[in-house]
């Protein structure tokens, strides 16, 4: 199975966000709408040009219908799959098929969440989900999810490979160093390895600085066919490869806590794109927790299994390091409104356009964005390139 014929046939032509950090007084849909408008405008299109919609919410099971109603569009292509945080990247391959077949001409992928400042407390939402989406074989043990599931993975990785607590902290410190170059990032104070280790304990071995932010924010991007993309306002970011893989939902049902389905999604995406990890100029990895970055560097092939800790050591993924990872500051330091995937794509596109300001990676032609959802449950990889990579 391969989708090589879709390589470079579609592109992301518009990106936008709204209300990053704290947006008191706004709800999920309002933030989504503002971000969607910004992305469509960035592409040089009008909302009436949008005939494909892809969106989901962790709370509302029929969210897509509300989005269509709110935006006032009449789509011929819809995707409301919810895979948690990786949803917004999982939409890309399906949208490429739909665009290429002629089912639609412009797909808007959009998300918004006011989880930080919402009047509805997070505890209420968490409890409602426990009722509506029960996990009866884990719930009696009260894992503080998601952190406890990732803590179990981190602990196992440390046991099998000698990964150290400091290696996890390196990931958070590198993300913060990038965030300090990004005026849009939420957390920009200096952060050291010692700070991470000494921070409030959450679920051992993770402290609060190993865990992503809880922010508000909306994000969106627009995809079209490549032939049309070239004539639009922005420099297109072409979809070279993409794949999604799901192996389990609960952490207790994951075969090996040190190997994620990113191994499958990454291999398929690289095969479609016809390139390899060493070719990537910039990499965005879904860092809901510090262990994620280490696992995904390994599973996507940037280093061997078990060597992720050593790979990130000594500022290797921070500005000036060997590999530019999470250049916006990531979910750890930039923004994380419940589901973060859309923001990984936005940052990859900005880097390929050369619009990333002080954090711009020089000469970026190939970018990888990798999404994660649930408790290491869903994995989605996207490889993007500039026109000269076609």
């Amino acid at each position: 199975m391969n989708y090589r014929h879709l390589r470079g046939k579609t592109a992301i032509v518009g990106v936008g966000h709204a209300g990053l950090g704290e947006a008191p007084g706004y709800n999920d849909m309002e933030l989504l709408t503002r971000a969607a408008h910004a992305a469509v405008k960035d592409a040089g299109l009008r909302m009436q040009d949008i005939d494909g919609i892809a969106t989901s919410s962790v709370s509302a099971s029929m969210w897509l219908m509300s989005v269509v109603e709110t935006l006032g569009v009449r789509p011929t292509y819809i995707d409301g799959t919810c895979l948690g945080g990786s949803s917004f990247m999982s939409y890309i391959l399906a949208a490429a098929h739909a665009l290429e077949s002629g089912q639609c001409n412009a797909v808007l992928v959009c998300y918004g969440s006011a989880q930080r400042t919402s009047a509805l407390g997070r505890g209420v939402i968490t409890n409602a989900r426990k009722v509506l989406d029960p996990q009866p074989y884990e719930a009696p043990y009260e894992p503080m999810n998601p952190p406890s599931s990732y803590a179990l993975a981190a602990r196992r990785h440390m046991h099998e490979f000698g990964t150290r607590r400091e290696h996890l902290a390196e990931v958070a410190v590198a993300a913060r160093a990038w965030a300090r170059l990004n005026p849009e990032a939420y957390s920009r104070d200096p952060l050291t390895i010692e700070d991470v280790l000494a921070a409030r304990r959450v679920s051992d071995p993770l402290t609060v600085r190993d865990c992503c932010l809880v922010t508000d924010g909306g994000g969106a991007f627009v995809m079209t066919r490549a032939d049309r993309a070239a004539a639009l306002k922005q420099k297109p970011a072409y979809i070279l490869g993409s794949a999604t893989a799901v192996w389990n939902r609960q952490i207790s049902c994951m075969d090996d806590l040190t190997v994620t389905a990113a191994r499958q999604s990454g291999a398929l995406a690289f095969d479609m794109a016809g390139c390899k990890p060493a070719d990537m100029d910039v990499v965005q990895l879904y860092d809901a927790f510090t262990i994620n970055t280490i696992l995904f560097l390994e599973d996507l092939g940037f280093c061997a299994k078990g060597e992720g800790g050593a790979f990130v050591s000594g500022g290797a993924i921070a500005p000036g390091g060997r590999l530019a990872v999470n250049t916006n500051g990531g979910g750890l330091s930039c923004v994380h409104p419940g589901m973060y995937g859309v923001f990984l794509v936005i940052e990859a596109v900005r880097q390929l356009r050369g619009q990333a300001g002080a954090r711009q990676v020089a000469d970026a032609h190939l970018a990888l964005a990798h999404g994660n959802g649930g408790t290491l449950s869903s994995q989605s990889t996207v490889i993007l390139g500039t026109a000269d990579t076609l």
Partner: protein
Amino acid sequence: MTEVSAAGQGVERQYATHLAQGRFMIQQCAACARHVFPPRELCPHCDEDQLAWVAPSGQGTVYSTTTVARKAEAGGDYNVALIDLAEGVRLMTCVAGMDPATVCIGMAVRTQVGEGKDGPRVVCVAIAGSQG
């Protein structure tokens, strides 16, 4: 209603009934002989619907562990662990009866049915002398 299964109810309810009667049960497939947990209607290994309840040996090993931080007034820190049973299945549980921070990977444990906040649940205790 047409008959769904010979048991007349789904496996989640059957599992809970066993547990309420003090028995921790897992499933074994009559077709491929493999053990299954959490409970399922179909064997995920061979697709047959011939899963029968069996009592596991109760012997297990800690696969991974975490100490969840909780304020003292709310009950203090507690353990959440993944245990690999001798039958080849894994379950989330709590290693009880010891400082949660001293639970370690590789430690030998045995299961027992204990009382949780919302009813009976499977907990584990360390087998004396095990140091993982």
